[in-house]
Amino acid sequence: MSRLTIQGLSKAFGDVVAVHQVNLDVAEGEFVSLLGPSGCGKTTTLRCVAGLETPTTGRICFGDRDVTRLPPEKRLIGMVFQSYALFPHMTVAQNIGFGLDVRGVHGSEATRRIADVVEIVQLSGLDARYPRELSGGQQQRVALARALVIEPAMLLLDEPLANLDARLREEMRFFIRSLQQRLGITTLYVTHDQSESMIMSNRVVVMFGGCIHQIGSAEDIYHRPATREVATFIGQANLIPGRVVEARDGTATIDTGLGRFRCGTRRAVDVGSAVTAVVWPEALRLTNGSDRSDLSGRVVARHFLGNLVDYRIALADGTIISIHALSGGAAPTGEAVSVQVDSDKAWLLP
């Protein structure tokens, strides 16, 4: 197990800069995910840590050991690929034993360690099968076992759940997370699925266009997004422009098309300056229109999400906002409704 330090990492392919000046520390035993849309540089960052790409500039250290120039086979990492990359010409046992075999671990010692790791990933009885004879979920477990059996200093996962169906994906999220906690292994996890990254990680790193936009806990990223991109990527944020009318420590009251409400903020803002507030769909309420500050609008679309209903509401000025309300009180499409913002649940973008 070791700490991971990435300093000033950049990677260019020809003229295309895939990763730009990435700095990241992952503590021993921490689970950190790299989150972002495809092409944001998260996979390239992971591949640099694995040694599958050579950084253009920057340094990567495992603990105190500088591994920047080391080939992947010298790094002692366990990596799981999106395609699982199981060797099709080897059985499950041979696949898992591959890393032991190249390290000169053979015979009863190898058998014991393979059996141990097979037990850990709950995959007994499939040793003699070939990868093509396994289901997607089983292949996933083989890939995990193969990565873990060498007792790596770090676990690197590149969208490992992307090819699984929804139910299995859910199950594997918790499985991988609890496995990681049990083994206490430092883990870097690449995904484009925000809920996956929020459920699984200690900290989430959000990347766009090769740069890190924010590093923080799931709550941080969700409630206090650092940039407009983060806010819109994480969920259906309503971005509401407005003007500051009162600023105090950590809060600001702003005037917007949705009325006047208070927002949290991390920076000092001047009264009168133009700002953008992030208002989450669940911070908005449909009301009966009794309060004077309520806004009127019209339901233009309504999506049933199970426990919630997602309404798209057109306001008088044409702005479309989205609101999540608990299922129950139903407002059909086309109905006139009133909307109220919950004060203090909004956040000012810097």
Binding site: G51, E73, P88, H89, F98, A147
Partner: protein, 276 residues
């Protein structure tokens, strides 16, 4: 039933142009020779007795197979890096490289042989070049020239199937092997190479059969010093008008090549099954 009908045109082609001519050759090989006609009256096994006991013909068979084996081995070694590069490269020159690989197939074999003769002749370009370093001149218009030309002409038949095989392998497999601690060399021999076996198998079979049955190349580049079974068969047919004996020699070559391919297929069978 209907699916079987779709195969009918191909089946018809095979029967008319492969099975019937082959049966004809088989019958011919049991005919008696004649000085005035294509064959004499009645049937005999004397042709086979002669071909299989005369050390001249057995030696020719061995030479032919040796040329085929040398050509196949050299092609395999030369083809693999090219196939690997072509399969994996994202270079914009890929199309050009691909055309380069196919180029030996773009002109007739006779033209290409004359090209090699010009290059390899005693006062040809190659010897002139070697002369600059005080070497030679060497005689290339012999078995050496034949092998060079065979390799040149049949190389695409080795490169293309291997390239296809490598293309169908997930590039992440080699990377996964590296992350698990395998060196580049270990990865090549335990992951990349075993997975390319289907392509290697087709390439080897194609090049072996093509070079064992080559006629024009040994004729032209051997400079009269190289005799293989195909050249002797043609001599029997055209020169001696000995159709029955020519047919016998042709069949012996075909059957031997078939047997060798059978053994090769049996040997590579376990690794093929693992890949499938």
């Amino acid at each position: 039933m209907r699916r079987w009908l779709l195969a009918l045109p191909a089946l018809l082609m095979v029967v008319v142009f492969v099975v019937i001519p082959y049966l004809n050759i088989v019958v011919m090989s049991f005919r008696t020779p004649s000085a005035t006609a294509i064959h004499g009256p009645g049937f005999t096994i004397a042709n086979y007795a002669r071909a299989l006991t005369d050390s001249l013909y057995l030696g020719l068979l061995a030479d032919t197979l040796l040329y085929a084996l040398a050509t196949t081995s050299i092609s395999l070694v030369l083809a693999f890096p090219v196939a690997f590069h072509l399969a994996r490269t994202e270079s914009r020159w890929r199309g050009l490289l691909y055309a380069g690989v196919l180029s030996p197939l773009l002109t007739g074999v006779v033209i290409r042989c004359f090209g090699w003769i010009i290059l390899l002749a005693n006062d040809g370009l190659v010897n002139q070049g070697l002369g600059l370093f005080g070497l030679g001149p060497y005689r290339f218009i012999n078995g050496v020239g034949v092998t060079i030309a065979l390799v040149h002409v049949f190389l695409p038949f080795m490169i293309l199937p291997i390239m296809n095989a490598i293309q169908s392998v997930d590039p992440h497999l080699a990377e996964a092997a590296r992350t698990l601690g395998a060196s580049g060399r270990h990865t090549f021999f335990h992951v990349t190479l075993p997975l390319a076996v289907p392509g290697i198998q087709s390439g080897v079979v194609l090049v072996f059969v093509l070079s064992a049955s080559a006629y024009i190349i040994p004729m032209l580049l051997g400079g009269g010093r190289v005799q293989t079974l195909p050249t002797v068969v043609v001599q029997q047919l055209m020169g001696g008008l000995l159709w029955p004996f020519g047919a016998t020699l042709a069949l012996i070559l075909s059957l031997t090549a078939l047997a060798i391919i059978g053994v090769f297929a049996a040997l590579t069978r376990p690794s093929m099954q693992r890949v499938r």
